[in-house]
Amino acid sequence: MNEILSMGGHGAYVWPAYGITLAVIVFNAWAARRKLAIALDEARRSRATEQPRNQPRVRQLQ
């Protein structure tokens, strides 16, 4: 195990490189989820302000 961690004395270069790559992937996945949650929330709220509850949806003629 120690051998793997030390990477022949180059552990200080190998592990940060892998760590940063992992962090970038995790961050991108998290950011996409968060963006979707916010967008869905805004879409729901936009409906709530446009239409009072329990009223039939009527399509307005332009």
Binding site: G8, V14, L40, R47
Partner: protein, 250 residues
């Protein structure tokens, strides 16, 4: 130019939203499996390199992230161009989604390369190396694309103006690719793309290819996840989305 009919299906936000929703979990599972297997293989199973020792293991992520950064730029430029020419809004949505992912993978390639360069070349950064410089330019192209978009209140205007920047900047991608052939500096020549005789032993080549496939799946997984959010943002008040929201999860 007339477009084939199926092309228009890919211009339909509800269709693409559902398609992306169906594909993302699978892309994510495949990407994570390949990356875990590839990383384990590259870090533990593969033997150390005869010349570089253990530090060469960074080369299981550095060329891969660099390749993803260039692929992300091409996806961004092509979709932005399609959006500009045929005025397909969804194409712009793909371009916008690719930009931050591409930017972060470009940064990743630069950092992992510099961490490899210090023990191997004796320097973190070499201003005279064209491939490093053009990859840095790629990072700035992604960032300026995002900054340019942020400067416009109106999304349609942002789409159209930023598309021009994306398309013009695409010349940088072949320059990065061929830089090692055009200039003889620190970066080594092509290794894998000489398909008939790749200059890498099989025991190194297998994890290398697993990682490159894993990163490709990873990119499209992240792209489609982000695209879903971008579609909801853009289609907030449309009937299909509101109906879908009413019927539970869209």
């Amino acid at each position: 130019m007339k477009l084939p009919r199926w092309f228009h299906l890919f211009g339909s936000p509800p269709f693409v939203y559902r398609l992306a929703g169906a594909l993302t979990p699978w892309l994510g599972i495949i990407a994570c499996t390949l990356l875990i297997v590839g990383a384990y293989w590259g870090l533990v199973v593969a033997p150390p390199d005869a010349v570089q020792g253990e530090v060469y293991r960074i080369l299981y992520i550095h060329p891969q992230t660099a390749y993803v950064s260039m692929m992300a730029y091409v996806v961004m430029a092509v979709t932005a161009g399609i959006g500009y020419i045929w005025r397909i809004k969804l194409a712009h949505a793909v371009a916008v989604s690719a930009a931050p992912i591409g930017a972060s993978f470009t940064a990743c390639a630069l950092v992992s390369g510099s961490l490899w360069g210090r023990p191997t070349w004796g320097t973190y950064w070499e201003w005279g190396d064209p491939r490093i410089m053009f990859e840095t330019l790629l990072l700035f192209l992604f960032l300026s694309y995002l900054a340019l978009r942020a400067a416009f209140e109106d999304r349609d205007k942002a789409d159209r103006v930023s598309a021009i920047l994306a398309v013009v900047g695409v010349v940088n991608v072949p320059i990065i690719h061929y830089s090692v052939l055009w200039w003889n500096t620190l970066h080594q020549g092509p290794t894998i793309s000489k398909l008939d005789s790749p200059s890498m032993a099989t025991e190194f080549l297998i994890p290398f290819l697993i990682m490159i496939t894993g990163f490709t799946f990873c990119f499209y997984w992240l792209l489609l996840s982000r695209l879903k959010a971008e579609i909801v943002e853009r289609e907030r008040d449309t009937r299909w989305l509101q109906d879908a929201l009413q019927g539970g999860r869209p």
